[in-house]
């Protein structure tokens, strides 16, 4: 019975982004930041979205959350289905109720993401008073409980402190507490550990993973750090120039990448067993989003590029069940890797 229920729940993904397009008006013209991105996340699943700066991974997340800077940003197409309902066509008030409560976000730099002139207790308590209509006193108590939950020492005393009075790691714990306050179904973590020391990074990722298991949340982990991905993610979506170029399970992707860009990314990680060998670097720079090359956007940097890559834009080819690559030569890439 339970098994059957879980199966049915798994059939409808928590979040289903379909063919999303986002543009920015800039001084140099229209920047196509997201060009037809599709991905989905199920309850309890962690999807890592991997890419360089300007790949559109954060913009996609902002569009999903409904916090895109607009202007200049604009969603020009696609659907964002949350439990089957399209967030983009939903009324503003209905969407606001979902935001923070069912679908929440952890930001990269907690120091600037937290309000500098409001105590952390008040910022946490706000979640309960606004969404659940709790009294000030009750929401305050809940805030302290949350702070204890993310293991902030002396939580009751520190609830009245301001963000700048906490260390970077503690601030990120508060950020996580805020995102998880109402036990959301899905959390988007945008580079949650990039601003932290390496030792603290591991603690924060462990905490996040622990809470995810406990609440059976879906998690979208946006990162450029392949090391973080390997430990926690179930599936990976690699983005380049506003497109997903490869999706796969973590094991498949690490074992044998099916897109030359992924090959390049994996090759550029320093590894102990490669000590003494030259580190691989992808040549060239990511394209300008106002002027994305014709054909495959990666073709100017691709070691495998042929004539077809400069003229025909590759769709996402199914490589295996649950696995896709946007490369005309995915077979060759896969064979070489394997």
């Amino acid at each position: 019975m339970t098994q059957q229920y879980e199966k049915a729940a798994a059939a409808v993904p928590l979040l289903d982004v379909r063919d999303l397009h986002v543009e920015f008006r800039t001084r140099d013209g229209v920047a196509k930041a997201v060009n037809g991105v599709s991905y989905s996340v199920r309850a309890g699943e962690t999807l890592a979205v991997l890419g360089e700066s300007g790949s559109g991974k954060s913009v996609t997340a902002q569009a999903v959350m409904g916090i895109l800077d607009s202007p200049p940003g604009r969603i020009t197409g696609g659907e964002v289905l949350f439990r089957g309902q399209d967030l983009l066509t939903m009324g503003a008030e209905a969407r606001r109720r979902i935001r923070g409560a069912k679908l929440s976000m952890i930001f990269q730099d907690a120091l600037s993401a937290l309000n500098p002139v409001m105590s952390v207790g008040a910022q946490l308590g706000e979640m309960f008073s606004v969404h659940d209509g709790m009294t000030r006193k009750d929401s305050r108590d809940k805030a302290v409980q949350l702070m204890e939950r993310v293991r902030i020492p002396a939580a009751a005393e520190r609830a009245g402190d301001y963000p700048h009075q906490f260390s970077g790691g503690m601030r990120q714990r508060i950020m996580i507490a805020m995102a998880l306050a109402l036990e959301p179904d899905l959390v988007i973590a945008d580079e949650p550990t990039t601003a932290l020391d390496v030792t603290v990074q591991a603690q924060i990722m462990d905490l996040l993973a622990e809470l995810q298991r406990e609440y059976n949340m879906g998690l979208i982990l946006i990162t450029h750090d392949l090391g973080v991905v390997a430990d926690v993610a179930d599936r990976i979506a690699v983005m380049y120039a506003g497109r997903i170029v490869e999706t796969a399970s973590v094991h498949e992707l690490y074992a044998a990448p099916a897109h030359p860009y992924t090959v390049g990314l994996l090759g550029s990680i320093p590894r102990l067993d490669h000590k003494g060998k030259e580190l691989y670097a992808i040549k060239g720079l990511p394209p300008s989003l106002t002027d994305i090359p014709a054909g495959c956007p990666f073709n100017p940097r691709c070691p495998r590029a042929q004539a077809i890559c400069r003229t025909d834009r590759p769709p996402l080819f199914d490589v295996a069940p649950g696995r896709a690559s946007a490369c005309h030569f995915w077979k060759e890439t896969l064979d070489d890797a394997g």
Binding site: F107, A113, M127, V130, Y162, M178
Partner: protein, 307 residues
């Protein structure tokens, strides 16, 4: 906090001495206070010499200054040209100017902040552009021009208010002069609020507040406004001191018998005790307003901690 206040008070001492000495130097060393006492008549040399001695004018300048400051600290500001004590003039003039300043500050807060917040929230739209242009125009019209024009329109042509203010200077008669005095600062407050709102509305913590699912109203009032208005409030605080010293033109246009009026008379008649005395008080007000603003900053922005 207590230590900080004491340190700031101590820092104010050299500034106070410097500013008052500068004024003292201009009046007593560059001008001739004795000749001024006699107006157009040539003074009798013996009398002049006696007055010089009484006023310590034959001593070196720094001694004269020390003597004068000693008197001021004991509450003796000297005598004005009409024989009245300068302290009596002050007792009449300062409440009037204080009321005028209060009216001006209220206009700055109500109109300036409202316009600034509205245009900041609608950045780039037509409301914003017109408010910006309006503030530029207002800043460009000198007070003595806008004062006369508004006085002519409201006081003379349309007869809505009385064109000049009675000696008692009640609040209702100070409305128009208050606007005139406030105009330029009002434009600054508008621009400052607008810039601050516009910059802060892109801040990460505002985005967080939206991502938390807070209603827009709450995002604006609890998160955006509280941060954005810190610089505005501090500007208005310092402006109290500046407006009191700057009321001279407004008071002249509307014939208000306040600080500016008395000072202007003192300067015209070269009555040194009046000029130096009033300026000394204005400098003190200015410095205290700045201190107050510094302390206010700490209250408004918890990131600032005074050791």
């Amino acid at each position: 906090m207590g230590r900080y206040v004491i340190r700031r008070l101590l820092q104010m001492v050299p500034v106070f001495i410097g500013s008052t000495f500068l004024i003292f130097f201009m009046v007593y060393a560059l001008g001739d206070p004795v000749a001024a006492l006699f107006g157009d008549k040539a003074p009798d040399p013996a009398t002049a010499a006696r007055i010089r001695r009484e006023l310590y004018l034959d001593e070196p300048l720094w001694k004269q200054y020390g003597h004068y400051m000693g008197q001021i600290l004991s509450g003796d500001f000297g005598t004005a040209f009409n024989g009245q004590k300068v302290t009596e003039l002050m007792a009449d003039a300062f409440p009037v100017t204080l009321r005028l300043t209060l009216v001006a500050i209220l206009f700055e807060i109500v109109i300036g902040i409202t316009l600034g917040v509205l245009s900041g929230l609608r950045r780039g739209r037509s409301v914003d552009t017109s408010v910006l242009l309006l503030t530029l125009i207002v800043v460009s019209i000198p007070t003595f021009v806008s004062g006369y024009v508004l006085q002519y329109l409201f006081g003379v042509k349309w007869g809505i208010v009385s064109p000049s203010v009675s000696p008692e200077a009640p609040f209702d008669e100070l409305l128009l002069p208050g606007i005139v005095l406030a105009l330029t600062s009002l434009a600054y407050v508008t621009r400052l609020s607008r810039t601050s709102i516009a910059e802060n509305s892109r801040a990460d913590y505002v985005r967080t507040a939206v991502a938390k699912g807070l209603p827009r109203r709450r995002v604006v009032t609890r998160h955006l406004l509280r941060n954005s208005l810190i610089p505005v409030v501090t500007f208005i605080g310092t402006d109290v001191g500046a407006l009191m010293g700057g009321a001279i033109v407004t008071e002249r246009i509307f014939n208000i018998h306040g600080v500016g009026f008395q000072l202007y008379q003192g300067i015209l008649r070269q009555n040194s005790p009046t000029v130096v005395g009033f300026v000394t008080i204005l400098v003190i007000v200015f410095l205290l307003a700045n201190l107050f603003v510094d302390l206010l900053y700490a209250v408004l922005d918890p990131r600032i901690r005074y050791a």
